[in-house]
């Protein structure tokens, strides 16, 4: 009778989304865990098979509700590889801009939610306040705060509005100052340190074997960042460092994400400078007609073009705010993707839950799961 299973979720403040963590406990000790997923499954991969290539982009925003732009980027890279389309250079830089602002937005959201889990209420408000500045910037050039639908196969939808660079630089300067305050609030707080230091330890080799990626892996001292290792878009033309920590615990993950935000600011400054001096097209010219307008009436010529989809499989990988996101898009020559498959970093990080939860106390679960940064939308798809 000493051991029993309890449900943490699907409605539990720790879950940050809709999922259920089944925990086997012995007194206050965690003996085994079994995450139960699927509450948010919408069949995005299946719906994609019935859609035109550009119509899938709207679904990608819904994949991860805090990092929609990164998921658009992932899908677009896969579709472009399958369809053999190259975007212009300015679009590459605009995509990096989107990705890094999205990383800031996602990490600020994580900061707000994670620190609130620990019982520190004011950082929550600061995190949400600063994330709103990033969302304001997104709104100014995509028209949306969450579901952007900004990237296109072969480029992006539109260029930046006038004055965007100045507004962005103001936000970046503001954020740079705020990171110091965040650290003072958290790392200087005894409550924070007592609830985070030495918890949820997941060392490098075990993390690799269990497929853990992103800040969780880098907090264990493994230097793997797809932006450096396998640069996509314009990441090979910007200068930044990979954030690393070696404690492999909750505090380590906090440090890595904070450093990543600083590096994002650094990347964004370079990208904004580049964009100032290199005007140009943002969509590939000579785009096949069928990519430009899915519903345009097609004549005989258009019909012929429609039959000319290259066949193949396109693989893409990006460093999403949560870790390594992968996708493949299979094209069989039809006008819809034959098969789309996504690898969500949180999916893999959650599947390793037993490695970093077993052996700790029940009260340690909220800080540990908070440091994983769960986004259920992309796990369940």
């Amino acid at each position: 009778m000493s051991e029993m299973w309890i449900n943490m979720g699907p409605q539990h403040p720790m879950t940050h989304g809709l999922w259920n963590l089944r925990v086997q406990i012995d007194g206050e000790l965690v003996r085994a865990v079994d995450p139960e997923m699927g509450y948010l499954h919408r069949g995005i991969e299946k719906i994609s098979e019935d859609r035109h290539y550009n119509e899938v982009i709207t679904l990608m925003d819904r994949c991860c509700y805090v990092a929609g732009m990164a998921w658009e980027h992932l899908y677009i890279l896969g579709a472009e590889a399958a369809l053999q389309v190259r975007p212009p250079e300015r679009a590459d830089y605009l995509r990096v801009l989107c990705d890094e602002f999205q990383r800031l937005g996602s990490h600020l959201m994580w900061y707000a939610a994670f620190v609130q889990d620990l019982g520190l209420m004011s950082p929550f408000l600061y995190g949400m306040r600063d994330r709103d500045l990033v969302l304001d910037l997104f709104q100014s050039f995509t028209g949306a705060r969450m579901t952007y639908e900004y990237m296109r196969v072969g480029g992006v939808r539109n260029d930046l509005p006038p004055g965007f660079a100045d507004r962005s630089r103001k936000v970046l300067d503001w954020l740079d100052d705020r990171f110091r305050e965040y650290d003072a609030l958290c790392l200087g707080s005894t409550i924070f340190r007592k609830r985070c230091d030495g918890l949820g330890v997941l060392k490098g080799p075990e993390a690799i074997a269990h497929g853990v990626t992103g800040p969780m892996l880098r907090a264990a001292g493994v230097k793997r960042d797809l932006r450096k290792d396998r640069p996509y878009s314009a990441y090979d033309r910007v200068d930044f460092d990979v954030a690393l920590a070696d404690s492999a615990d909750v505090t380590g993950r906090y440090l890595v994400r904070m450093e990543e935000m600083r590096q994002s600011v650094r990347i964004l400054r370079q990208v904004l400078d580049w964009l100032d001096h290199h005007p140009g097209p943002v969509v590939a010219d000579r785009l096949p007609r069928w990519l430009g307008a899915p519903y345009a009436p097609v004549g005989a010529e258009g019909y012929l073009l429609k039959r000319n989809y290259p066949k193949g499989l396109g693989l893409s990988a990006i460093e999403e705010p949560h870790g390594e996101a992968l996708s493949y898009v299979v094209n069989d020559g039809g006008e819809h993707p034959y098969r789309v498959k996504f690898r969500s970093p949180v999916f893999a990080n959650l599947s390793a839950a037993s490695t970093y939860l077993v052996g700790y106390h029940v009260a340690d679960i909220p800080p540990i799961m908070g440091s994983v940064d769960v986004c259920v939308g992309e796990v369940d798809r």
């Binding site: 997923m37 699927g38 499954h41 069949g43 991969e45 299946k46 719906i47 019935d50 590889a81 690799i208 074997a209 269990h210 497929g211 853990v212 990626t213 493994v222 793997r224 290792d229 396998r230 693989l315 990988a317 390594e324 992968l326 493949y328 299979v330 034959y338 098969r339 498959k341 690898r343 999916f347 893999a348 599947s351 390793a352 369940d380 798809r381």
Partner: protein, 158 residues
Amino acid sequence: MQPQDLQRALAPKLGERLLGVEPFAGTAGRVRFERTAALETFRAMRDDLGFAHCAMVGGIDWVETREVLYVLWSDGARQYALLSTTVPANDAHVETASGVWPSANWHEREAWEMVDITFDHHPDLRHLLMPDGYAFHPLLRSFKLHEPEELEVKVRHV
């Protein structure tokens, strides 16, 4: 790492069960193998070639056959590699990779419930995203979301 390197390392171990290594853009190559050689291929990829990270296992339904696609990553070579094996649709099973890469566990559960590929000796092959007892495999091509006729709007002229 080049496709030839994969070929050189795998050919002695797999013999004829290695069906070929072809170049694939952005990766070290795409390895095709017979499903009977699954475990040897996984072990050789991990131990001899250093692909310690299994990023994804996915299934593709080609109607008469089904393809299992593994995406691996090597921290040493900083490269991906693809493994793929094709199984007949009426006998779709392959040895599990979760003994070699624990990360394959959930991906295989998903491939089983979505594309109906059974992974032999999997420690925990049960539903992941779908409820227990769900009788369909939604990512099969035969699973239709709707028939196009149903969406037609009937317009009444008055």
